[in-house]
């Protein structure tokens, strides 16, 4: 199979339950290579669960996840024609709401840990690439600092560099600005915007509606565990068809 014509990620019939509670109730979604997809929706709609299923951080209850056309299994290692979570997560980076930087490591070590441990990269090469990435997110001077010495916005930019160090094909951003003070949101969005310009395939779960409208090629509105509406941002954000989406968006247009 030729991976260039396959979607980067596709899911079919995805459901996710926690005990009796069904959070996702049948999601079909294709993410073409190069697309920036924004997932919006009310709290508890299942949007975070959905993005966490895309790198198997959450195991699907039912349904099928494919990466560049290859089926993804829940096992760590590749087996047969299915790739494992190890391969998937090397190719699909993820950034979290609460950064989850490794507090016992310096900024530089945070970025090089994945490449040296997982990709068995040479220490020196990993260091060089990490410094290059830290330059890109504007933190060259913080390489030797510890996470506790950084602001929230700086932490999130380190977390993005940490993911990029794995040279991923896809990046997942799970509410990466939700834990930040308002004045620090901009510096993180700038980094994401720069990635989008560079052609990175991305999924963003976000509450930043203006930003989603600006960078996303497509917006998906999740409500009560299903895709309630989707389309280009100008359609979904400016001319919503369902009442629930109108109601949801009205809260952001104060």
């Amino acid at each position: 199979m030729n991976s260039t014509i396959q979607p980067a990620i596709s899911v079919r019939g995805l459901t996710k339950s926690y005990g009796a509670l069904q959070v996702l109730k049948g999601i079909d979604l294709d993410l073409p290579a190069g697309e920036v997809l924004a997932i919006i929706g009310p709290s508890g709609s299942g949007k975070s669960t959905l993005i966490r299923c895309l790198n198997m951080m959450e195991v699907l209850t039912t349904g099928d996840l494919r990466f560049q056309g290859q089926r993804v299994s829940t096992k760590f290692k590749d087996k047969g024609d299915a790739i494992g979570t190890a391969t998937l997560r090397r190719k699909v980076g993820m950034c979290f709401q609460h950064f989850n930087l490794f507090p016992h490591l310096t900024v530089l070590e945070n970025v090089t840990k994945g490449p040296t441990v997982v990709l068995k990269e040479d220490r020196k090469a990993a260091d060089n690439y990490a410094r290059e990435l830290l330059g890109k997110v504007g933190l060259s001077d913080k390489a030797e600092s510890y996470p506790s010495q950084l602001s929230g916005g700086q932490k999130q930019r380190v977390a993005i560099a940490r993911s990029l160090a794995m040279k991923p094909d896809v990046m997942l951003f799970d509410e990466v600005t939700s834990a930040l003070d308002p004045e620090l949101v901009g510096e993180v969005l700038e980094v994401v915007r720069e990635l989008a310009r560079g052609g990175m395939t991305m999924v963003l779960v976000t509450h930043e509606m203006a930003f989603a409208a600006e960078v996303a090629d497509r917006v998906v509105f999740i409500d009560q565990g299903v895709i309630a509406e989707e389309g280009p941002p100008e359609k979904v954000m400016k001319d919503p068809s369902s009442d629930r989406l109108k109601q949801f968006l009205s809260r952001f247009n104060a």
Binding site: N55, M57, F76, T85, A86, T87, R89, R90, G93, M94, F96, H98, N100, L101, F102, P103, H104, K113, G114, V117, V118, L119, S148, A159, R162, S163, A165, M166
Partner: protein
């Protein structure tokens, strides 16, 4: 007024020193073995298999809820009756000391690992680490820092617990004191000297632990 006479007791200083050496050996040996048992218990308790969790839990509760002296006496006097083989006192003593401290270490290790935010594991997995890699590179280094004060505390207690080995005639410091007392009839001097020797071994250790804890808090 009592007439202090340390001279008589100090004639047997070599016995005290030998006792200290044995105390140190049993301490180090049982702590090393105890760490092994403790790690096994902690990871079994954190395992997804209920049978492993149950076995580890049972082990820990038995050893935490019975006195160490009873365990030592049981292993030396009672266990041979069941298995039909005599157990040398040094094996019974070392084994019980190790299992005892291991049951407490297990809780300390488990608590330290559980105290690490689950986002740490997720972030490690998100760059493709396996569960074992995440544990080794990300979780353990942080957990060890958290568990160290409790670990040192338990180890200080362990030094003193070796004194219970006197009950099965292992020649550690307390037993040696008993021997010296038998020869000199100077219990006041003999047991005072022993107390001083234990203190001299442990006080630097607790000071180090305090110092270490202060230093750790500063880097947080």
């Amino acid at each position: 007024m009592y007439n202090w006479d340390f001279y008589t007791v100090l004639q047997s200083l070599d016995l005290f020193l030998l006792g200290m050496k044995m105390t140190a050996l049993y301490t180090v040996g049982s702590i090393l073995l105890g760490i092994t048992f403790g790690l096994m218990a902690a990871f079994a308790r954190l395992s997804q298999w209920w049978a492993l969790r149950l076995i580890a839990r049972t082990y820990q509760e038995i050893f935490r809820c019975t006195p160490l002296l009873v365990q030592i006496l049981w292993a030396f006097y009672a266990l041979p009756l069941i298995i039909g083989v005599n157990i040398p006192n040094y094996i019974a003593g070392l084994l019980m000391l190790s299992l005892y401290v291991g049951s407490f270490y297990g809780e300390i290790f488990r608590g330290g690992i559980n105290a690490i935010d689950k986002g740490q594991r997720e972030a490690a997995m998100a760059v493709g680490m396996s569960g074992a890699q995440a544990m080794y590179h990300i979780i353990m280094p942080q957990a060890i820092k958290k568990m160290l004060p409790a670990f040192i505390n338990q180890s200080v207690i362990q030094v003193k617990n070796t004194s219970l080995l006197y009950a099965i005639s292992i020649a550690e410091l307390t037993y040696m004191t008993y021997v010296v007392n038998g020869e000199t009839y100077r219990p006041l001097e003999a047991y005072t000297l022993t107390a001083v020797l234990y203190f001299a071994m442990l006080f630097p250790l607790t000071q180090f632990a305090d110092h270490f804890e202060r230093r750790m808090r500063r880097s947080d």
